[in-house]
């Protein structure tokens, strides 16, 4: 967890520094408040960074003889499991992008339910029901033009 904290702070310090540089080129009235906000945010982040570093030194000294879980994780958390979850999220994004809502939703719901150990009949019922609800409520009733994806837009 501490590694994650430090990484988050360092990444955002870099982003804020880049934004500060970009903002300097904006017209005076457009850059006024953003520059102030970025500057204060960077100061706060630097303070958090110093706190994390000093906290980290103390924690290492105190726990030197204890075997700790792998850095950045608690015992209960598994990076691989999170990678799978984010893989599923990315899959949904890809499906929507390529095939649009009306194909992406039922395919995704079916695949997720089936591949997480449920019976195919439940996967089929839930995915088809959802598709029907979406089509009639959003497509027909509310007349919202549903995104068709790269292939069908």
């Amino acid at each position: 967890m501490r590694k994650s904290q430090l990484a988050f702070i360092v990444i955002f310090l870099c982003i804020l520094a880049m934004l500060f540089y970009v903002t300097l080129d904006y017209p005076w009235r457009a850059r006024n408040l953003p520059l102030l906000v970025i500057a204060v945010a960077m100061l706060i982040l630097v303070r958090e960074l110093l706190k994390e570093i000093s906290r980290g030194k103390g924690a290492v000294a105190a726990d030197a003889n204890i075997s700790l879980p792998e850095r950045g994780q608690t015992e209960a958390e598994s990076p691989l499991k999170y990678a799978v979850v984010f893989g599923w999220l990315s899959g949904l994004v890809l499906l929507i992008w390529i095939f649009g809502f009306l194909i992406a939703f039922p395919v995704y719901i079916f695949a997720y339910i089936k591949m997480n150990g449920e019976k195919w009949i439940w996967a089929f019922v839930v995915s088809v029901s959802f598709l029907i609800v979406v089509y009639f409520v959003f497509g027909v009733l509310l007349e919202i033009p549903l995104y068709g994806g790269l292939l069908f837009q």
Partner: protein, 493 residues
Amino acid sequence: MFESMVTGLSFLFQPTIILYQLFAILIGIIIGIIPGLTGIVLLAIFIPFTWTMDPQHALAFLMAGYAVCNNGGTITAILINIPGTGANSATLLDGFPMSQQGKAGQAIGAALTASALGGLFGGIVLAIFIPIVRPVVLAFGAPESFFLVIMGLSFISAVGRGSMGKALFAALLGLLFSFVGYHASTAFPRYSFGMTTLFDGINIVPCALAVFAIPEMIDLMYKGGSISKVKSRAAPLRDVIEGCKAVIRHWWLLLRCSALGTIVGIVPGVGADVSVWVAYGHAKITSKNPEAFGKGAIEGVIAPESASNGKEGGALLPTLALGIPGSAAMAILLGAFLVLGIQPGPRFLVDHLDLAWTIVGALIISNIIGSLLCVFIGMQLIRITQVRAQFLAPVILCITALGAYCGENSAFDVFLMFALSLLGWSMRKLGYSRPSFFLGFILGALAERYYNISVQTYGWQFFLTPISLVIIGLTFLGVFYEQLKAAFGRLKA
């Protein structure tokens, strides 16, 4: 004033608004029953679907759903020892033991009655204070409004959970996100990096979903399984009525805890989690049998439930009167105002007083209806906790994708939502306050407008107006209260 009250309240009795409220109440109860899904997530998910509604329908819909979220969580807390929302965490201390003693019905009856009456109390306090506060807010100009925004951001950062430094950073990050797009005065496109889709800025709905809803879904997908494996106990109706009568017998406790909840709710940035524990602690200290608490004392159910719903009326007061959210959920409600084309801030009570009354009325009516519904259908709806995450998670994810899309019919918003959800999830894992971030995001444009007007009108001395100085002083006191208290303590010693 009276005409606005009549107009505002009469909206609630239109047939379509009644239907919307009933639907929202049902969904609110279901959301409250599912642990991990709170009123905040409900508001984030509901807001996209208010795009096509007029403000009266939309606000009645949102308030109705939000007001009853805690009620659903009460049922799970008592029957299966799982708090549906953070506000139900104190209820289970005595509610579940009562359930184990065969008094589930009494516990549910007491909790829901206390909840309804607590919400009624908060709504009445709000109704009384609206006419009192209104003349005060007319004195607020651009400098005062700017410092009010700063105070709101500072309070929600200082008083909320977690590190203040992290919360302040989150608020500033939210402000930065609000600067994306055309600058109002100069029409200069900021932080768009050549992407024309960002010229109009980041939409509120994808941001709200990314920060509040998607991280909860990631958590749900990660944990998997069903939410509860505990079989719920029976709760006969006669026992429920017995529980309702117990609340009337403890009327003085009910009043005190409702008042406590309302007062805590008025303090910006403090949430229901604090109010329920304050009320529980108060009830235990003032009880004739404090040793019974934690073992099935009915006062231990009445106190937190009345406070958690009383808090809502209190939280709405600074939200409507000053544009400073009384809680994280109120921050999202302010986002809903912007989606509906309503400017939050001190002018709200001047320009939209009838809507304020609509909100008050929706809060009171929904609390009562929600409690009644929970009594009759809550025990059946609790089966939802047996539904496995494998079914819930993909469906809710698809709903959020639709929600992000519906606002502008833009697929870019959907992809932006998923991209921003990485930030939302990281903030959740690393302890950065998401309500602070979202508040900064929705108030950023307002803050900049007030800032520019103030500088143009008053020059750089705009902070020297009397009310501004008071607000700056209060902000300073609120943020550095602990440090000042420690310093004074050392001086005295």
